[in-house]
């Protein structure tokens, strides 16, 4: 029930003055857009949750699409800032691969705020917006290259680009699956709960992929 507040209630409901309305809209927008998707989300609901007036969206962001873009960018920057990827490369490639897979899965499946960007992203898979292009350019490309580098090391320096690419995508695919196809997994194995088995999953995907990559290398050597 999202009935607008009456005048008296509104004055009573005065928030701390400097809890910036703009920021509160971004936070509420992130939650609602992630939960409902762009079309289903209403700015009424978002501004209600933010304790702001409907007109505030237009005032700060122009329109609903502008709010969405700002929410996406803000979530992206926030994720980058407070939870940067460990792109440094030291240690054996096997170990780095495992670390990367574990971190990736956590970002995808974690129950709290970290996975909200992934949820937003999953919706972009089916209804891409310009925000997706930016995210790929700014954030995903480097991660992807990082995995590709590890895998090239594992395959040997003389592996052709094609093979590197296919193996990289196979690794990424196994991780992404547990988020983007979660409804299927949940229905096939109702008593299973992937977020609760992050480390087991990471171990499996790493072992599975390492074995496959080593075999490709061995075969090429013949």
């Amino acid at each position: 029930m999202n009935r607008p507040l009456r005048t008296t209630a509104a004055t009573v409901r005065r928030q701390p003055r400097n809890a910036d309305t703009r920021q509160r809209l971004l936070d509420a927008g992130l939650a609602v857009f992630a939960a409902e998707g762009f079309r289903k989300a209403t700015i009424q609901e978002i501004s209600r949750r933010a304790g702001a007036n409907i007109a505030a969206v237009s005032y700060y962001f122009g329109d609903k699409a502008g709010l969405y873009a700002a929410v996406f960018e803000s979530a992206e920057r926030q994720a980058n800032d407070e939870d940067p990827w460990p792109l440094a490369g030291d240690g054996p490639p096997e170990q780095r691969l495992h670390a990367h897979i574990a971190g990736f899965l956590a970002r995808l499946l974690d129950r709290d705020r970290r996975a909200v960007l992934a949820q937003l992203l999953a919706r972009e898979m089916v209804e891409p917006t310009p925000a997706l292009d930016r995210l790929v350019r700014r954030r995903m490309r480097s991660n992807h290259d990082h995995v590709a580098t590890i895998i090239r090391e594992l395959l040997g320096a003389d592996a052709d680009a094609e093979t590197v690419r296919l193996c990289t995508l196979s690794v990424v695919a196994q991780c992404v699956f547990y988020r983007n196809s979660a409804p299927i997994v949940a229905r096939l194995y109702p008593d299973l709960d992937p977020p609760a088995h992050l480390t087991q999953l990471a171990d499996h995907i790493t072992a599975f992929s390492l074995a496959a990559i080593r075999a490709q290398r061995a075969e090429r050597a013949t």
Copy 2:
């Protein structure tokens, strides 16, 4: 509530009439729902494409959601009928795995009608409806079990269920990825076109997975 009679003798008798409006709505609905998604699709557009009046949707299916359910079910049955899975199991498991992966990829990525159900399904990943439950129960479970059987053969009869499940999902994940994450792949590798390289993809995924599975078996043997 005015509904057309069920397919009793009465309906069959008077079919020279333009009784295929219902079917045309199903066809148009399939195309539009797959392309736009449930919310964005409009019944105006659907009935226009079907050459039918707007009221026909209400007349035949009650409402928009009813049309969607009917479209989904019809597409599902049609896919089952005219393009059944080869679930029979003869030949070496390696060969059956490859055949299954190739068939699966074709269903996911083919450019024509076969992949439309997969497109609809991809949307269900992000907004599940009751149609998804039915599809999993009726169609996906058996396919999944088929893959699991092959993989259990490859792993050896004494492999534990956990391992079988993880390996099965790893195989499925690699296939599904090229559809459900197509926007990402397209942006990471703009000059790549997965549907055009179906056999190469199938070969890679099979080889990759077979190597991984064999390694799991070997390790368990120690």
